[in-house]
Amino acid sequence: MDFTEVPVSDQGKGKKKKNKKTKKQKVSEEGEARGDDIDTKDGVKMERTEPVTVFPPTFSVSEIKNKQRRHLMFMKLKQDKRKQKIMLKKKKKKEREALGDKAPPKEVPKTIENQRVYDETTVDPDDEEVKFDEETDEFAAYFNRLTNPKVLITTSDRPRGRTVRFCEQLATVIPNAHVYYRRGLALKRIIPQCIARDFTYLMVINEDRKMPNGLVLCHLPDGPTAHFKVSSVRLRKEIKRRGKDPTAHHPEVILNNFSTRLGHSIGRLFAALFPQDPHFVGRQVATFHNQRDFIFFRFHRYIFKNEKKVGIRELGPRFTLKLRSLQKGTFDSKFGEYEWVLKRHEMDSCRRKFQL
């Protein structure tokens, strides 16, 4: 290549016609040279891998050097692919219609949820042992209507920004909730005072760089304590198409997909946050939806438009929780006994295994 370029620069100072000619020549020369090169290369390769030779010159769009041309070709490629896909779909649909009733049933897409590894502790609703266990656990007083929930919401020390607003909005969602400033107090000291004042829940929201990132939910007087990771918090202001502010009516609670024994305990923990008799006049509903071990919280107001249609309007806030640990007894991170701890890498080595 160097050799062919050198004469061009020499000649290209005044004689344009010549220059063009030489260029043409050069190109042809180059082409020949390239062809030769390729041939030789092929020859070498052929010798090396004789039985597996596959050489339709593989053309890939990314090899085109001109950007505009590359883009054009790429768009064409994409269009072709799309056309093929649509054709295939149409063909399948026609076949289906032709077969009529005898058509094979539609395939259900494989998701990691419906491929879930069976958990031994999945609760059977008529298991007497579990029933007894749940009837006598720490939430028994609430479910036997002996106590009414009273929730204390506090934060980590010196809350800033969104955490404060998040606390305030949580307090409007949960009836009978009181927000207090932490004032640098230790949780272990707060707990006896809460018990003395008949609180049934202590909720601590931890923050990192002004963003809420942790939630400690401690059932009083004798546990259990759950520690959650909080993510994707959206406050009321940030929710599109939100309704008016919630009213003070007791909301209904929906708990979805808490199927294992651990899930049941977590579900009961959430259920006991809210008073037992919802005010249906308020038409408000709080949802804890568990999917792939993430718990999604949403707060809606619904309205029956007619017998079949229901309209919902989100009131906010919305957030996602992930269980980190469940501890027996009240908050004691050092000497408490853990019922369940999330062990990363050990537990999530199988993506189809879920704990809740």
């Binding site: 502790t121 007497e128 007894f132 006598t136 027996k328 000497f335 853990y338 369940w340 050990e346």
Partner: protein, 303 residues
Amino acid sequence: PAAVMSVMDAWLGAETGLLKGVSVSRKQAVNFSSSSCLDRAQEVRALSWAGPGETELLVGSADGLVRTFSAEKGTFTSSRRCGEPHEGCFSGLHALGSALVTCTEKGAVRVWKEHSDVPVTEVRAGEHVHRMRQSPVAPHRVATGGKETPVKIWDLENPDKPMFTAKNLRDTWLDLRQPHWVRDMAFIPGTDRLVSCTGYHQVHVYDPSSPQRRPVLEAVFGEYPLTALSLPVDGHTVAVANTQGQMALLDLRKGLVCGVLKGASGSVRALQCHMTLPLIASCGLDRHLRIHSLQDRKLQHKV
């Protein structure tokens, strides 16, 4: 929950007062009490073998009842009252010939003869006794220990004075007293040494035959309180478990971790090694019984 192992099968006591027999080969747990008469007050606190050749099981429940369960017949044969509920739950229960040794959390070690309601001997082992264990070689020798109560070895035939009382650790370099919290202990068979694990994640080995009353070896495992301990057959390792469900084998000669047993996801309440085979069973708050092999440290069974 508490666990005792027999030949490849395990017996478990639950917090709800159930006694469960687990068949490992069939992967099933069978309840041996009627589920209609469940009571949280009858929470199983201690389990122990009694009678010749592991035929009877002693079940100590939280309200002070000791029930005898016949493993052959599969029924409870008798029950007797050993102590009042207000004296605390059982922290240890062992058979001594035909008699019974019980220990409550308030620290009363008592020997009960058959068919009598009055204890023959009574020993005060201090407040907050967390565990009492019996020596496998000399059954009349028991060890106790708990929160702020050092390890003591008692000879029940001579109950006036403990045979050995451990001394607390040396003060720190700031002259601060080290806290003391024994959670479990075991006699090392073949020697008269004793190994204990503490709530401050240490494992201590005491040697009553030497003049030193402080531990002769200290090992540290993890960051969370150790709850249970068990000695495998080979004699120079000890298996410990903590409140986060981490289990490990520690070498008793150098105090190093030999291997970790994975799988448990919650606090381990009881560990038990098999008498002859290299197997270890663990159970705890995560509602699973796990049996690990000690040789390759793999999880063998999970029920």
